[in-house]
């Protein structure tokens, strides 16, 4: 039996190279699980032109019409496929195929700058997804709770499967870094709070913490943004580095840091990067946004702060000054991360897939 995965972008719109990001990693993990279960899998995505690629033995189809109408592209995907799985809730208007699964990666419209109309539209998009597809897998409880608060009767259609971490790749090291490294391991999106991280670093430097080393491990999807970031952090260049890494190197990147910061403003699920940093035994400071609050218990396995610069700075400063607590939080983060082992994630997903799509 074949399941087609419908998603915005597994490859870049030109089909040339893979997109780097959590959604794409989620897709690959799911693809490999489905194949283990014996399903055939292909991927249909938005694109600039029509194309067909094979990557790691998977057929990937780009739909060029997405450049002028995502709805039309989705319609075409529906015509070319049987059983489908939507890798995210689609923003474009569409009719979901019945008896399909949609993956929710968390609330996306909680940006403080969102207009009331946008909020209403997003809620309607959720309502429609829940009503039509029948099964929504959410990566956090936060999305589910928001859905229940608006549509109590639809909440039972949601199954929560928290995100995963591969413990074989992400494990702790016992080396104590000197200077102390504070890491930002996220994409350069406004909602991820990169500017707050820079501001925090600047404040700590001004306060005279000269043994600190800041690193921003960012994505390569928008080279222009990376250049701009280097430009605005010129004053910090002695202590703050902007780098990009292949995913395979991220384990070492986390292990080289003692404090890892997730300063998201909004649009957050159970972040893969956060789980990976935890699995590497780092002390985590995260904002109390979305699904981050389902993996961090403030003061137990990390620090949760409101998405405000002052509080974020205070928390990082606290960890800088308290090596014992830093180590303790890191240890517990590592212990809790085990509950998110990718094997457990696969077991839960297998149940959903077998229930919805039937056995091969």
């Amino acid at each position: 039996m074949r399941i087609s995965i419908l998603m915005p972008n597994l490859l870049l719109p030109n089909g040339e190279s893979p997109v780097i990001g959590g959604l794409e990693r989620y897709a690959w993990q799911l693809i490999s699980l489905m194949r283990e279960l014996g399903y055939e899998v292909d991927v249909h995505q938005f694109a600039g032109t029509d194309w067909h690629r094979q990557i790691s033995g998977i057929d990937v189809y780009g739909y060029g019409m997405a450049s002028w109408s995502e709805t039309a592209a989705l319609e075409a995907m529906h015509q070319n496929t049987g059983a489908v799985l939507y890798l995210s809730i689609m923003q474009a208007p569409l009719r979901y195929k019945p008896r399909s699964v949609i993956v929710s990666h968390g609330v996306w419209w909680d940006d403080p700058a969102s207009s009331g109309d946008y909020v209403q539209r997003s809620l309607e998009v959720c309502r429609q997804a829940l009503t039509e597809a029948g099964h929504v897998v959410s990566c956090d409880y936060s999305f589910l709770n928001v859905v229940r608060s608006f549509y109590p009767a639809l909440a039972d259609r949601v199954t929560v499967i928290p995100n995963f971490v591969d413990l074989a790749q992400f494990y702790p090291s016992h080396a104590q870094g000197n200077p102390l490294r504070v890491l930002y391991p996220r994409r350069l999106e406004r909602c991820r709070g990169a500017d707050m991280f820079v501001q925090m670093a600047r404040t700590l430097v001004q306060r005279g913490y000269d043994h600190l080393n800041f690193e921003m491990a960012v994505d390569r999807n928008h080279p222009d943004r990376n250049e701009a970031l280097v430009e605005v952090t010129r004053d910090l260049e002695a202590v703050l580095a902007v780098r990009t890494y292949p995913f395979e190197a991220m384990g070492d990147v986390y292990r080289s840091a003692q404090i890892v910061v997730f300063p998201s403003l909004c649009s957050e699920g159970t972040s893969l990067a956060c789980l990976e940093a935890m699995a590497c035994g780092c002390a985590v400071v995260a904002t109390d946004v979305g699904g981050l609050t389902n993996i961090i218990i403030n003061g137990y396995n990390g620090i949760l702060v409101p998405p405000r610069l002052h509080e974020l700075t205070r928390a990082v400063e606290y960890l800088v000054c308290h090596p014992h607590d830093r180590a303790l939080l890191g240890e517990r983060a590592q212990a809790t991360a085990r509950a998110f082992d990718v094997q457990a994630w696969k077991r839960r997903w297998s149940e959903v897939i077998l229930t919805v799509y039937g056995s091969v």
């Binding site: 969102s114 409880y141 928001v146 949760l304």
Partner: protein, 373 residues
């Protein structure tokens, strides 16, 4: 801290006729908050709906009453108005429930959210039309915008606000509920015969708390596992429910029904192996869940509201969808797997320390000192 007078507005800390203390998590919260304010040098008074009586709930802490008859759209503007007229001689203000700050809020004020309470299907029927629901949301939005800080016991509420009134979250402060770890540690466990596994449901017998699912699960499992005891500890909202529950346990071996003063529930929790918090809606960072954790129980909690702030599935408890199916599966898993039970219980005890009363006090102190200046 220089002190000053703090007026706290609540709905019905005491029964409006003044004849009955309503025990529960929110009331415990109120007492600890009063104690904290007193320790910081403030004078504290409580204001609530009532017909003119006064009660002293702690030395020097008086509950006064205000008239209010109607609660349109889940707000009580009459109470809010009366409070604003009568409590003007105070310096600082706390709205103990968020909607009480509608339509107006005093300048130096804080409000408290105890969790989302509108996420059950029946809520829809309390506001019949889309226009009514919009009006309720509008009022709630106004109530949330007034106070300088809104303290929320869970992040589910903050996430809801972020997804509803995106700009408003900036005034929120997440302070999860507390458990007095020292008190739990000092509590003597109730007796238990050797070889038995004790499962406790320490909540009210109401639909939103998942009583129906729990009763069904106990019905199935009590036949299957004679060594397991199911304890239902809590009152019903209707007398009939208590009567039916007494009759039900008399028909099912291994099941027990009773209730106890809150501090005594702890004794049973300390003797228990498994605690079940299968809420279907209207849940914050449940005190019962925290107490069960501190008591070292393996907790089975639903993924509703703030419970996902306390439990990490498979680490310090199990998180389930509050259905009979999931409840049966998770209970059976824990009944059979002692090692897992012990692992979860031990981690629950450890995590509970992150919610210890002194930690809560410290977090609250920070908010109080930033607003009451």
């Amino acid at each position: 801290m220089t002190g000053g007078r703090v007026a706290i507005l609540t709905t019905n800390h005491f029964h409006p006729a003044g004849d009955r203390v309503i025990y529960g998590g929110a009331e415990k919260y109120g007492v600890e908050l009063s104690r904290l304010l007193l320790s910081l040098g403030f004078e504290v008074s409580w204001w609530q709906i009532g017909d003119g009586w006064q009660k002293e709930i702690l030395p020097g802490v008086i509950v006064r009453t205000l008239p209010a008859a109607e609660a349109p759209f889940h707000t009580i503007p009459q109470l809010n108005q009366a409070f604003h007229e009568r409590a003007v001689d105070h310096d600082y203000f706390i709205y103990f429930v968020t909607f009480l700050a509608y339509p107006q809020a005093m300048e130096a004020s804080i409000s408290i959210s105890h969790g989302v309470y509108w996420d059950y299907p029946g809520f829809d029927a309390t506001l019949n039309t889309e226009a009514d629901r919009a009006e309720w949301r509008r009022r709630l939005g106004i109530a949330l915008s007034g106070p300088i800080r809104v303290v929320s016991v869970d992040t589910a509420t903050i996430n809801w606000v972020a997804a509803t009134f995106p700009g408003l979250v900036s005034r929120f402060e997440y302070i999860p509920n507390f458990v007095d770890v020292a008190a739990v540690d000092a509590t003597e466990p109730a007796g238990k015969a050797p070889g038995r596994i004790r499962v406790v449901y320490p909540r009210r017998l109401t639909t939103v708390r998942g009583i129906n699912e729990m009763v069904r699960a106990a019905e199935v499992l009590s036949g299957r596992y004679p060594e397991v005891e199911f304890h239902f500890i809590g009152r019903g909202h209707q007398d009939e429910v208590e009567k039916d529950m007494m009759a039900w346990v008399s028909r099912h071996p291994g099941t027990y029904y009773y209730w106890l003063p809150p501090e005594d529930v702890l004794r049973v929790l300390k003797s228990a192996d498994i605690a079940v918090i299968p809420s279907k809606a209207a849940e914050g960072t449940s005190l019962a869940c925290l107490e069960a954790m501190a008591a070292g129980c393996a907790v089975i909690a639903s993924w509703v509201g703030g419970l996902g702030n306390l439990i990490i599935d498979g680490y310090n408890g199990l998180i389930i969808k509050p259905t009979v199916h999931d409840l049966l599966a998770s209970l059976e898993r824990l009944i059979r797997d002692e090692e897992l039970r012990v692992f979860l219980g031990r981690n629950a005890r450890e995590t509970a320390k992150a919610f210890d009363l002194p930690v809560w006090e410290q977090r609250w102190r920070k908010v109080i000192q930033s607003v009451f200046v």
